[in-house]
Subunit: 391 residues, 2 copies
């Protein structure tokens, strides 16, 4: 029998049954009254998940499309920006900006590390006379599993550069980590459907502040397909400017309801616990975590190094073949150096225990000396303590 | 009992059962070996439907995204183009081009009419010294139901402006009307998933000639998300540069197989027959066709005027309420002036007869004098003659 694989990767994430059901519904007209009713629920609920008072734009495109939209709608070719780079996805901000003719400075820390408020303060104070149109950040760097303290980093930007836009990639953090666009004073946040939203890929989201909207008013070449103005105008009429990916939007309606039922606090608590269980389990199995500091560990993805003499390929292939469990390789220069376990979206403690058990079996088979049952025991202990704390 | 509506609109079109089944499959990793196998089938099959020797790019975006991609990847801001305008979607070429800073000339004919080769020849000969980077055409103008003779129009462009790119919107023509990018010497054609491809919206396609690829090499600001170069590079490795809408791609794999089983000739023959049945039926019911000339009638959508004293809203509302059949209103200045019946994609003679019968019932109820059964009889007659001709 061939069971569907269990995806323990940082997107796409497993789909809830209630989402899968609506994906295969008969075609629905995207200008119909029924579909407008769906959008009428979806638009305010999107504001809730971003904690954003303004409209959140819904793009039929991957998260990269929304990243380009964030820049192309608010920047002009002569602008200068600062990008905080600590991995593949933060580096993507650099690539997109350069393609758009924007001048880019980057403040780099090694993959697996986070930018600290002190480090950013020092850099900005040394460049206090430089007019940065924006500072680009990555909340959860999917390629390494680092969660950056973007609340504090934003506050640091405001000290010396109050007019500078703060733009955040919240693609694997939204619906997993605490995020609050309004209170944190972030200007633009982008996310994608196949992550905390528990949907297939196809949609991306962009939340923005008044400051970002004003920057859009001064943008000379905002483009057509991703143009904020067109989305704002359409949304006021509960529709989209162009034909949207209707199955994913029907799914979004269901998923947002599931998320609201769990509540923001519940969502963050669950993902934090899954992260803590995963990290404790891997450590107990003698594996080295790629992000050593707990405070910078992403609640959506955990990276670790293979044991001495064992290849990433061998571990991943065995997990897939023997158990139908998929975990991710490293990306770019980290390919073959780290493995990444996603614990994001429609994932519970059950899948974490499953993955740790299967990993133990695979490592033993690869002649790694793993203390029997230690990974699962450590993970259970984490959950036990959390349950006791809430009792 | 609430049955699903029968969508007789020019997109989205009804979905085949085999497509619906794969849409709700459990999540699949877009970088997995299994998904690469899907793309390995899909990419060459897309070349087949466009009759294109080069790679066809697959965007997670609506058709409008692919339209912008066609311009933004091959044009520079100082370029001048000519747009053949005869409706809402051909006008969209004008809007996109202006947004990108391109200088636009438009050659307009009234909605419901097509540009003739003679008319275009006259215009181009009068502007023989003008360097047009491209001439933009719309194969099937969805807002009116006009099929333009873009094969002949392209040949006319080559007479005086051989270096000019010919760019065609084939969004509602592909998989319905005869189209051949290579033989017709068209440079770029764009289409969308929710039309002849019988899929939900979410994907768009862009086929291109060597001439268009060369223009891309000289493009200064091709952007990031829609950048040809990134799609070409990824496709060589059977993947996509950014996370794609996986459900729609699984559906595309199924739909392209259905289309190949029917064959290009079969697809065109079926749609032509559905058009002829619809037109004959509407005429026999005493209704006036918006596109009077058969040779310019689109095989995917048929527009007609409401009878004297009857509103478009009343007809559409009654069809939907009494029979669960959805037909389209006119758009923009044609809103409330015409109705549009889509007969595109997963549609057969059965749905055309159903729609004509229901329309008769609704018109009678609205006190219109319709000869009983005349519409259906005329449509059956068309099919009968076609069957006899092939016997």
């Amino acid at each position: 029998m061939k069971k569907a694989d269990l995806l323990m990767i940082p997107g796409p994430t497993p789909l809830p049954e209630a989402v899968r059901e609506v994906l295969s519904r008969p075609a629905i007209g995207h200008r119909s009254a029924e579909f407008k009713e769906v959008l009428k629920r979806v638009f305010p609920n999107l504001r809730w998940i971003f904690q954003c008072k303004n409209q959140v734009f819904l793009y039929t495109a991957s998260g990269t499309g929304a990243m380009e939209a964030a820049l192309s709608n608010t920047h002009n070719a002569e602008d200068r920006i600062l990008v905080l780079v600590n991995g593949v996805f933060s580096q993507r901000w650099v690539e997109i900006a350069k393609t758009l003719g924007i001048t880019v400075e980057s403040l780099d820390v090694p993959p697996g590390e986070a930018h600290t408020p002190g480090m950013l303060r020092e850099y900005l104070q040394a460049n206090v006379g430089t007019r940065y149109k924006s500072v680009m950040m990555t909340h959860s760097e999917t390629s390494t599993g680092v969660l950056s303290p973007i609340h504090e980093l934003t506050a640091v930007c405001r000290e010396t550069h109050p007019e500078t836009l703060v733009i955040a990639d919240t693609i694997t953090s939204l619906g997993a980590a605490h995020f609050d666009l309004e209170s944190w004073d972030v200007d633009i946040a982008v996310s994608g459907s196949q992550k905390g939203f528990m949907l297939p890929p196809g949609l991306s989201f962009l939340a923005l502040s008044d400051r970002a909207w004003q920057a859009h008013q001064q943008c000379q070449n905002p483009g057509y397909y991703f143009n904020f103005t067109r989305y704002q105008k359409a949304q006021a009429d509960n529709t989209t400017p162009y034909t949207p990916a209707t199955p994913q939007i029907l799914g979004l309606d269901v998923a947002l309801q599931l998320m609201m039922d769990e509540g923001l606090e519940g969502i963050v608590k669950r993902h934090t616990q899954l992260r803590d269980m995963t990290r404790a389990g891997l450590k107990a199995m003698g594996l080295e975590l790629f992000v050593p500091q707990d405070q910078y560990a992403s609640p959506s993805v955990t990276s670790f190094m293979p044991p001495e003499g064992v290849s990433v390929d061998a571990v991943r292939a065995a997990l897939k073949k023997r158990f139908g469990i998929v975990i991710a390789d490293g990306q770019k220069e980290l390919k073959g150096k780290i493995m990444r376990i996603g614990h994001l979206g429609n994932v519970s403690a059950r899948e974490v225990l499953t993955t740790l058990s299967a990993l133990e079996a695979v490592l033993v088979d690869l002649h790694v000396n793993v203390p029997a049952g230690a990974g699962v025991a450590a993970a259970i202990q984490v959950q036990q303590e959390a349950l006791a704390a809430h009792a």
